[in-house]
Amino acid sequence: MAVPAYLYQVLAAVLFCIGVMGVLFRRNILVIFMCVELMLNAANLSLIAFARALGNVDGQVVVFFALAVAAAEVSVGLAIIIDLFRKKGTVDVEQVSLLKG
């Protein structure tokens, strides 16, 4: 029995929401980072599901781009986090408000 197409979207949405909530409410930068990855992957899942449902390769191509971007973003981001940790000695987001107006 094939899984109805919309369920993949539901899953993607749920994963996305979990990721969003993680970004908003978690304090540890690494956890926030992982949630961002979760959001990205949720989007990827949604794209692949649509590609399969519409019989169109375009969605999968976009996913490749997204994966590449995500990889780049992760490397840069982790570098920043390491630097931040060295400077501030903490990975708690709420204690890093240097941009305060």
Binding site: V23, L24, V93, E94, V96, S97, L98, K100, G101
Partner: protein, 652 residues
Amino acid sequence: MLQLFWLIPLLPLFGFLLNGLGLKWMPRKAAGWLACGAVGAAFAIGVGALIELIGLPLADRSITHVLFPWIMAGDFHVNVAFMWDPLSAVMTLIVTGVGFLIHVYSLGYMAHDEGFKRYFAYLNLFTFAMLVLVLADNFLLLFVGWEGVGLCSYLLIGFWYTKKSAADAGKKAFIVNRIGDFGVLVAMMLTFWTLGTLTFPEVFHRAQTLLSPGTAIPTAIALLFFLGATGKSAQIPLYVWLPDAMEGPTPVSALIHAATMVTAGVYLFVRASGMFVLAPDALAIVAVVGAVTAIFAATIGLVQTDIKRVLAYSTVSQLGYMFLAVGAGAFVAAIFHLLTHAFFKALLFLGSGSVIEACHHEQDIRKMGGLGAKLPITKTTFIIGSLALAGVPIFAGFFSKDEILYSVFTSQLGGLGKVLWILGAAAALLTAFYITRLVALTFYGKPRDKHIYDHAHESPKVMTVPLVILAILSTVGGFLGLPLAEKANVMHNWLGPWVGGHGAEAPSGAEGAVLHATSHSAGLEVALMAISVALAIIGIWAAWRLYIKDLPRVQELSRKFAGAYRVLWNKYYVDEIYNALFVRPIVDGSRVLWRAFDVGVIDWAVNGTGRVLRGTASYLRPIQNGLAGSYAAAILLGAILIMGYVLLGGWR
């Protein structure tokens, strides 16, 4: 010579430039002689040009020389051009002739002053400006000379600028004059927009063709010009600068404030008489103001104790006579009195300068007395001048003053004319009185200050010769305007066709005096003459009796009439009234205006805008809490809102 008349103003200008720019290097003596020479040469050219002018037939006696075009904008066109006609010729000779005598006198008077060279530079500049004024062929150029003499007056009154009172007096003169100048400006603008030109021959021509007598516009023009004249010629209400102007060196008072600058208003009115005859109401006002000023100033002169102040108020009074004449339509009489007044008033002022010098710069007549013995030439010439001023026949003032009084009595002003005649006659009585008082207190009686008397000495020739010349002129000058003798009256035959409605066109030869209601009556004239002579003699006799024979009675009288005396001595408190009514409110009001409005209102608003912005910003700043998480939340919220809007069909 006639073709070169335009050089006349340029010679003193040249003198000014040489003396002014070469102030440091010019040797003292040379500066003085240069200045005198410039004016003397101008006088010589003037005489030559006059003679040639006389030789011309009546209709051709007006020559215009255009130097260059000055201001052109649209329909407005004015040249720098000079006009030589009987009126300007008379004025020129007065300015250069009397001016020359005063220049020479100054060589002696200012000999010990360290500003000697600067003085002569200014004096030449003044002569230049005055000549521009009388030779101009249009109102605007006249105005250049008008303000120019005002400037020189400012510079010369405040000549001893380290003295605060002198600097104040100069500033007062300039500002009060400027109030009058405002009137002249508006008058010129009104003239241009009504008649399309400011050049004299065209203005008078068009005025007579286009304007109806007695209507609003010519009356307004006349009154506005008169406002200027009250400033320049020291009439009510703008005369207040003249007495203060006595702070300047005495020759300056003689030249500027007796013989020339103050007569500019009279000249203006006579020159533009062709237009002013169209405004009989305005002329009536002029006559009234003139008469009232004449008697008003005379009353103040009765009690002044500074020798120059008496003469200053006398000048204001005599100028009143000239305007009385103008207002009555007797333009030639006004110029005639201008001429004779130039002679005897300059004489009186120069004489007083001689006295002041002799008394080591003391000007208070209460400290003088008996100086006649020490200063014989000064005394004699001064007495001649006084007789002329008082209107004693055969001296010059008698003829001119009488002509004015007769003209007023018989003028078109009718009943008003008779009233004004009474005022004029009363003023004549007072004039005789105050001038005799001055003579008595200065030259006769017992010396009241021994120190001054001992050191008094007659002035050098360079000062007494001009006195003598002026005395001669004050004696014979009146014969230029003999009454009752039509053919022999030089002034009338010379000037008559050129004033009062004829301007520069060929004079018609017939009725020159448009405004005489009754025809010339010899009997009336003699009668009036007799009355004024009688008044003069009464005045002289009364003052003589009082001040020479019975000095203690003067003290008694001044105690008895202490109130009146105080009012007169304080010149009716006019300066104080002006100060309280105008000066203080404007100055204090401006300060309030600045602090309350500029700083309080406008800047409060401007800075307030800044304050509001800063306040708003401080409310909004907490949004930027530096926490990336909240920024992310905001992004999310925004994204949801936008997508929702789009998905729900808001964007077409």
